[in-house]
Subunit: 81 residues, 2 copies
């Protein structure tokens, strides 16, 4: 999963990250009920701040692509059959 963010892009960082995570889910790289990388890991790999990473995840949550369990992690929503 390539999570590199182009900080010089006109596209906001959090949207770039959301797009990459969305692609990983829609391609099946992250299957149903599979965890996304943790926030701290995303912070490490992207170089973004925690709140910015949260912002990206909140986008996917609003889209219904992921759900979060506090203390556990964030997971790909199982697509309804």
């Amino acid at each position: 999963m390539d999570l590199r963010i182009d900080v010089h892009s006109p596209e906001p960082s959090y949207l770039q990250l959301a797009a990459r995570l969305r692609a990983a889910i829609e391609s099946g790289e992250i299957g149903p009920r599979q965890p996304l990388p943790s926030l701290s890991r995303l912070v490490q790999e992207t170089g973004l701040a925690g709140n910015t990473v949260r912002h990206a995840i909140s986008v996917l949550t609003e889209e219904g692509l992921v759900y979060t369990v506090r203390g556990r992690g964030t997971f790909a929503t199982p697509r309804q059959a």
Copy 2:
């Protein structure tokens, strides 16, 4: 060991706490392989949140001044002879 934090200081709380613990180690108040106060104790004595105390300890860990054993505690690194 005076662990009082000045919340009105421009210096971040976690750096203030790290500085105090560092001073305790370098002065020998906490000798080699001696334990630091536990996290919950530091939380009590400083009034800071757990994650903030962790942040302070992570600074000292990166500096090599302390090491942590899960379930046991955090200890002053023995200085190589």
